[in-house]
C-alpha cells in the first residue's frame, strides 16, 4: 500500500492494516458497514478487544490475528476497517 515509512509508537492510534507484524493493541474502532461489519463484530473484533497481529501469509496477505484466545485470518482490506491503540510493538510474531 503506502510505501512511505510510517513510524508507529506505543500509544498511537493506527489502522490494523499498517502496523508491523508483532504489534499488540486494543481495538479502538471498527468501521465496517452491513454484513461485513457485523461479521467482524461477531468474530470478536469489538472495541476494547485485545488483538495481536501474529503474521502475514507468505504472499503478504491475508493477516493472522490472535484475539480472544483464538486465531483469525482477515485480509488487509478488512484490517483497514479496524483502528487499534498500540500497546506493544515487539510481541513475538514471525516476520
Amino acid at each position: 500500500m503506502n510505501e512511505e515509512k510510517i513510524i508507529i509508537k506505543v500509544g498511537d492510534l493506527a489502522k490494523l492494516s499498517i502496523v508491523p507484524i508483532g504489534t499488540s493493541g486494543v481495538i479502538h474502532l471498527v468501521s465496517g458497514q452491513g454484513r461485513l461489519g457485523r461479521r467482524l463484530l461477531d468474530m470478536g473484533l469489538t472495541p476494547g478487544a485485545e488483538v495481536f497481529l501474529r503474521k502475514q501469509a507468505p504472499l503478504g496477505d491475508p493477516l493472522e490475528l490472535t484475539l480472544r484466545g483464538y486465531e483469525l485470518s482477515i485480509r488487509k482490506s478488512e484490517a483497514d476497517l479496524i483502528v487499534i491503540r498500540v500497546t506493544d510493538l515487539d510481541a513475538k510474531g514471525d516476520k
Partner: protein, 764 residues
C-alpha cells in the same frame, strides 16, 4: 395396539448448536453411532443431519432421544446460507432442547453465540467440549460458576474420548420437560421497549426478535415486517449504531466472566508458543510455506497414482521385465498371472495407490481377477453357452471390476486429503492461497470446495454454502467439475495407459497433466466469469484458523470407509445396470436377434454410429471408422456416471473383441491427438447425473443453472476440438493463437470499460 401406542410416543428432539469446529459432529457421531464426516476446518457440516441416542437398556423399549446436528455458526445473525439453516431450525422447528456445544479451549468467542441463544425461549444445555484438550493445556474451568452466571445447566464433556456423554443426555432429558424463559445478558431500556412491540404482535421469542430488529438484521426486516417497521419508527430519532453496541455489550459481559471462571486467563496465551504455533511457523513460513504446500500436494498424487515411485526408472534404474507374480492359473486354455506387476513393473516401482490398484485388479488380474476367472472357469466347466459366458464375464464382470479395481486407489487419495483436513492444514492452504485466488475473483475460502472436487463433485458443491456471496458460489460450482474427481481418475488412467503404449509417455505424467489442465481451465473460467457475467467486489475472507491437531484414526477410517462404500454401492447399482443395458444393446439388433460378432448391426452400434459424426471435430467422429461408435457410447454414458466411461469402454472392447481401451484405440488406429481430445472432452464435460441434480439444488436461479449445463458442454466440446486440431494440424496454431490473443484483448477492454462504469456508479 401396542405398536400404535409406541409410535404415538414421540422421542425428545434435541438440536446441537455451536461454533464451527467446536466438535458438534464428533459429539453427534459418538451419541448416535453415526459416521458423519468430521474435519478440522470450519464448515464441515453444511446440512442438518439427524440420528438417535439410546439410553442404556434393553430391547425396543429403550428410551431414545432424536438428535439433530446443525451447521456450525458464529452468531445467530447469519452471514452464509448454511448459517441460515441453523437459525431457522432453532426458531421455527421448536426443538425440545438445544445443546449448545462450546470449545473449552476457546470460551470467550464460543460463548458469544450462547448469549444470543439465551434470548430465545428454549431450554439450553451448555456442553463444554474438548475438556481433554483443556486438561492438556493445564487450564481449568469453574463449571459451577459458569452455570450460576448463565443460569443454564453446564456439562463438561469430551466427545472425542466419549466422556460425560451419558450425563449430558440425562441432564438434557430433565431440561426437555421444563420451560425456560428467555433473558438477555444485556440490560437496556430500549430492548424492553422494543420487546413490548413484539409482544403486542404476539410474535414468538419476542426478546430475540427485538434485539435483532435493533441490530437492523436483514432477515428480521423481511420476516416480521410490521413489527420491524414499528421498531424503526420508534428508533427514528436514535442515531446509535446498535449493531456495534450490542456486540460490544455481549463481549463486555463475557470477558470478565471468562477471566473469572478459568484459572489461567487467556491473556498469557500469546506470550508462549504452543506446539500448534511451532508447526504453523514451518507450514506457513514466508518462503518455505508455499514450497511445502506444492511439494505436499505433488506427493499426494505421486504416492497415489504413480507407477514409477520416486522416478527411479526415469532416473535410469532398470527393472527388467517387472515382477512376474507368484501365481499362474489356466482358464479356458489361457494362462493368467493375476499378480504380475504387483510390486514393480518394467516401468518402475508402484506407488502405494498403484499397488492397491493392481492388487484389486480387473476381470483378469488381482483379487477381482481371481474371482472373475473363477466364475468363468465354473461357467466353462458347466458347459454354459458361449453367450452366457460372454454376458457374465465380458459384459458384467468386465464393466464392474474395471470400476471396483480403482476403489482402493481412490480411498488412498481420500486418506491423504482427510489427513490434510483433519490436521488443520487445509485451512492454512486456504490462508496461503487467498492472495492468488483473490486475483481470480474468489476468496481463499473457495479452495476448500474446489479441492473437495478432486474427491467427488457432490459434497464439494454442497460445501459452497460456506461461501459468502451468491456470485462466489456460482463461480465455484461451475468450476468444481474441472477438478478431476475419483471417477474421472479411472478413465484418465486407462487413457494414460493407451498413450503410454502408443508413445511411451509415463502414465503418471499424463495423469498429472490432465489434473493440471482441469485446474488451469478452472482458473481461466473463474477469471472470465469474474470479468463478465459474475462481476463482484472480491468477497471478504474472514476465517478462523483452527489449532493443529493429530488426525484421529477413528474419524479418518470412518471417512475413508464411507467414501469407499459410496463407490462400491455405485458400482453394484448404476454402473452394473448401465453395463447390462450396454451389453444387451451391443449384442442385439433391432430385430431382437443376437448379432454375430464385433457388435455389427447391434442397436448400440447403429445408435452410436448415428451420433458419432458429432465428435468429428474432436477426432473420434467419422475418422474413427467402423469401431468409432464405442467411444461415442462411452462418452455419452459418462454423463450418467463418469465411471461408465471406463466400464463401457471395457465392455465394448470385449464386444469388438479387443483388449480394453488400449485395444479399441489400436483397432481404430486412433491418432494420439484424438485420444487426448477424448480425454479432454470427458474430463471437462457435463459431470454425472448426481452432480447435475446437486447443481440444480444449489443454484437457486433456473437460468443460471441452465447456463451452467450449457457451459460445461460447450466448453468441453470446444476445448476437445481445439486439442485435436492443434495436435493433428499444428499449423492451425497460427490462427488459434492470434484469435485467443484477440479474445483476451477484448476481455481486458470490456473489463476496463465496466470498471469505469462501476466507479462512476460508486461516486454518484
Amino acid at each position: 395396539m401396542r405398536k400404535v401406542i409406541n409410535k404415538m410416543k414421540k422421542n425428545i428432539r434435541v438440536a446441537l448448536l455451536g461454533n464451527p469446529n467446536s466438535g458438534k459432529t464428533t459429539l453427534f457421531n459418538s451419541l448416535t453411532g453415526s459416521t458423519a464426516y468430521v474435519g478440522n476446518w470450519p464448515g464441515v457440516t453444511v446440512e442438518k443431519k439427524s440420528g438417535t441416542y439410546y439410553f442404556k437398556g434393553k430391547g425396543k423399549d429403550r428410551e431414545g432421544i432424536d438428535i439433530i446436528d446443525l451447521p456450525g455458526i458464529y452468531s445467530l445473525s447469519p452471514y452464509t446460507p448454511e448459517e441460515v439453516i441453523s437459525r431457522n431450525y432453532i426458531l421455527k422447528e421448536n426443538p425440545d432442547v438445544v445443546i449448545n456445544v462450546i470449545d473449552a479451549t476457546n470460551l470467550e468467542r464460543n460463548l458469544y453465540m450462547t448469549t444470543q441463544l439465551l434470548e430465545i425461549d428454549v431450554p439450553v444445555v451448555l456442553a463444554v467440549n474438548m475438556t481433554d484438550a483443556l486438561a492438556e493445556s493445564g487450564k481449568t474451568i469453574d463449571y459451577a460458576k459458569l452455570k450460576e452466571k448463565l443460569k443454564i445447566p453446564v456439562v463438561p464433556i469430551s466427545a472425542l474420548e466419549e466422556k460425560g456423554l451419558d450425563n449430558l443426555m440425562k441432564v438434557t432429558k430433565v431440561e426437555a420437560n421444563k420451560k425456560r424463559e428467555a433473558y438477555s445478558v444485556i440490560t437496556d431500556k430500549k430492548i424492553e421497549k422494543v420487546t413490548e412491540i413484539y409482544k403486542k404482535y404476539k410474535i414468538a421469542n419476542p426478546l430475540f426478535h427485538a434485539i435483532k430488529a435493533l441490530e437492523k438484521d436483514e432477515i428480521e426486516e423481511s420476516e416480521n415486517k410490521e413489527a420491524y417497521a414499528d421498531v424503526q419508527s420508534l428508533m427514528a430519532q436514535d442515531k446509535e449504531d446498535y449493531e456495534a453496541v450490542i456486540a460490544d455489550l455481549r463481549y463486555q459481559f463475557l470477558t470478565p466472566l471468562c477471566a473469572e471462571i478459568s484459572t489461567k486467563p487467556h491473556k498469557s496465551e500469546k506470550e508462549k508458543w504452543t506446539k500448534s504455533d511451532r508447526i504453523d511457523q514451518v507450514l506457513t513460513h514466508k518462503i518455505f510455506g508455499m514450497l511445502i504446500m506444492i511439494v505436499a500436494l505433488f506427493f499426494v498424487f505421486h504416492f497415489t497414482f504413480s507407477g514409477d515411485l520416486l522416478f527411479l526408472n526415469a532416473f535410469g534404474v532398470n527393472f527388467g521385465e517387472g515382477y512376474e507374480g507368484f501365481l499362474s492359473i489356466m482358464v479356458g486354455g489361457e494362462e493368467y498371472r493375476p499378480f504380475a506387476g504387483l510390486i514393480y513393473t518394467d516401468g518402475g516401482i508402484n506407488s502405494i495407490g498403484e499397488f492397491f490398484h493392481v492388487l484389486a485388479g480387473d476381470n483378469e488380474t488381482g483379487i477381482l481377477g481371481l474371482i472373475s476367472l473363477g466364475i468363468k472357469a465354473l461357467l466353462l466347466k458347466w458347459n454354459a453357452p458361449e453367450w452366457v459366458v460372454g454376458f457374465f464375464y465380458d459384459g458384467l464382470l468386465n464393466g464392474v471390476t474395471a470400476v471396483l479395481g480403482f476403489v482402493p486407489q481412490i480411498m488412498i487419495l481420500y486418506t491423504f486429503f482427510s489427513i490434510m483436513e483433519d490436521s488443520g492444514y487445509m485451512a492454512r492452504i486456504a490462508f496461503m492461497l487467498d492472495r492468488i485466488f483473490r486475483k481470480f475473483g474468489v476468496s481463499g475460502r473457495a479452495f476448500i470446495p474446489m479441492i473437495m472436487g478432486f474427491g467427488c463433485a457432490i459434497p464439494a458443491m454442497i460445501n459452497t454454502r460456506t461461501l459468502a456471496t451468491e456470485k462466489e458460489r456460482i463461480k465455484t460450482i461451475r468450476v468444481i467439475p474441472f477438478f478431476t474427481c475419483g471417477a474421472k481418475a479411472e478413465f484418465i488412467a486407462i487413457i494414460a495407459a493407451a498413450i503410454a503404449a502408443a508413445v511411451g509417455v509415463d502414465a503418471g505424467l499424463f495423469t498429472f497433466s490432465m489434473y493440471m489442465l482441469g485446474i488451469l481451465v478452472a482458473i481461466v473460467s473463474v477469471i472470465v466469469m469474474n470479468k463478465t457475467t459474475q462481476r463482484e467486489k472480491v468477497p471478504p475472507f474472514i476465517m478462523e484458523l483452527p489449532t493443529y491437531r493429530t488426525p484421529q484414526l477413528k474419524a479418518l477410517t470412518r471417512h475413508v470407509y464411507n467414501k469407499g462404500k459410496h463407490f462400491v454401492i455405485k458400482a453394484f447399482t448404476i454402473i452394473l445396470a448401465s453395463t447390462i443395458v450396454i451389453w444387451l444393446l451391443a449384442n442385439f439388433g433391432w430385430d431382437w436377434q443376437m448379432v454375430d460378432e464385433n457388435g455389427t448391426g447391434s442397436i448400440l452400434q447403429s445408435l452410436g454410429s448415428f451420433i458419432q459424426p458429432l465428435f468429428t471435430p474432436l477426432g473420434f467422429g467419422v475418422q474413427a471408422g467402423e469401431h468409432g461408435w464405442t467411444l461415442t457410447v462411452a462418452s455419452i454414458q459418462g454423463i450418467v456416471a463418469k465411471e461408465n466411461v471406463t466400464a463401457t469402454a471395457e465392455t465394448l472392447a470385449s464386444i469388438i473383441d479387443v483388449d480394453g481401451f488400449t485395444g479399441i484405440v489400436e483397432a481404430i488406429g486412433l491418432s494420439n491427438a484424438a485420444v487426448v481430445a477424448f480425454s479432454v472432452f470427458n474430463l471437462l464435460t457435463i459431470p454425472c447425473f448426481a452432480a447435475i441434480a446437486t447443481a440444480k439444488g444449489e443454484l437457486s436461479n433456473r437460468k443460471v443453472y441452465r447456463w451452467t449445463i450449457a457451459y460445461w458442454f460447450l466448453l468441453s466440446y470446444g476445448l476437445g476440438a481445439l486439442t485435436y486440431v492443434s495436435f493433428a494440424y499444428v499449423w492451425t496454431l497460427a490462427i488459434t493463437i492470434p484469435v485467443i490473443a484477440l479474445l483476451i484483448a477484448l476481455l481486458i477492454i470490456y473489463d476496463r470499460h465496466k470498471k469505469k462504469q462501476e466507479l462512476l456508479l460508486e461516486n454518484e
